[in-house]
Symmetry: C2
Subunit: 212 residues, 2 copies
């Protein structure tokens, strides 16, 4: 099973590493981190370097594609050659997936036109402006395109995908392997559940960060 995860400067690490940790455990997984160039990218906060082992120019096909999000996605929306590569590689995939604002990049490539899709809750309007039909679900499947909500949603998306690829028993084995029995100390992980003042606090912080 060939799996490619796109990396770029300004990626949110957990968007990529959540699906990686699940999909790398698929039997026969060959997982590659790819980017515009071989080398190291830095994450959105600058605190972590992640290795791109292969250039997208050398990747002509993949069964699974994962496009993570992060503030760095906004620069990608205008990168014509990257968007062209996405359209080309999408022709070869069994599943094209995104996590968080990775869906904005898929949308900019035209891959979400008139499809239901999701993104980080604070980016759903942007997603709509790029031609998708935003929906506030954690995992949205439309044919071979699967989009996930913000950051941590990539773990749920990848388990959902694993079940489609290799069946529910293996997906459960992977879930047990990563001991994914979530017990967050608060129930504030969505805009419907978090106190309104906290939603507003985070919305404003994200908007400030996006303007930078």
């Amino acid at each position: 099973m060939q799996i490619a995860i796109l990396l770029f400067d300004g990626v949110t690490a957990l968007d990529a590493i959540g699906p990686y940790e699940v999909l790398a455990r698929l039997p026969g997984a060959e997982l590659r981190f790819v980017g515009r160039e071989v080398g190291t990218v830095r994450t959105d906060n600058g605190f972590l370097g992640l290795s791109c082992d292969r250039s997208i120019d050398d990747l002509e096909r993949t069964e699974i594609l994962v496009v993570p999000g992060g503030f760095g996605t906004r620069a990608l929306l205008k990168e014509t050659s990257l968007l062209e590569w996405l359209r080309r590689i999408h022709q070869t995939t069994r599943y094209t997936t995104s996590v968080c604002t990775g869906s904005l990049v898929l949308a900019a490539a035209g891959l979400l036109d008139d499809l239901e899709a999701t993104s980080h809750w604070a980016a759903l309007d942007e997603l709509g402006a790029l031609g998708a039909r935003p929906t506030r679900q954690r995992v949205v499947e439309q044919g071979k395109v699967i989009t996930a909500a913000g950051v941590s949603a990539g773990i749920d998306m990848a388990l959902h995908l694993a079940a489609k690829l290799v069946g529910p028993e293996m997906a459960q084995a992977i879930q047990l392997g990563i001991e994914y029995d979530p017990q967050p100390p608060f129930d504030a992980g969505s805009v419907d559940k978090a106190p309104p003042a906290i939603v507003e606090l985070v919305r404003q912080a994200l908007a400030r960060r996006n303007r930078r």
Copy 2:
């Protein structure tokens, strides 16, 4: 807030990146990935390179220490100089934490002697043999030592820690920022919940991998 996350060859990426994604969002966070040498380590499956930006020899103090797990921990259990560094840096921390089999390394350094602690569910016997009192909880706090269960449990541990450090409102804002509203497609993330046949399958696969 100075935060150090230890990296090493054979680390499980999500063990490190779960806490990173939460703790990096603390106000004023200065988060560093540290290892025996500056450079790149490869994860347990070899699919990912992560950058160590600082050598532990150059890190004399940190407020928060996170020790992730992975098959690579077994080699660390005999590394005298690393265990000595752990004992030294532990004297300087506000909180010393681990995820998954990272607790084996803390135990080998003597930091869990007679303390309740947790680890990946399949490593609890090993943890006991190293002097800790294994307990099957997702997050175990004993004074300034906090251990988390397998892989994904580091996210819950870090939110718990964030609440202690900066209060529940900020911890909830971080949870909402990473949209941590878990919706796994199965309820198989613990040995108590997964079908027994799947527990046995995973146990055997992990034992085979540990012998290699």
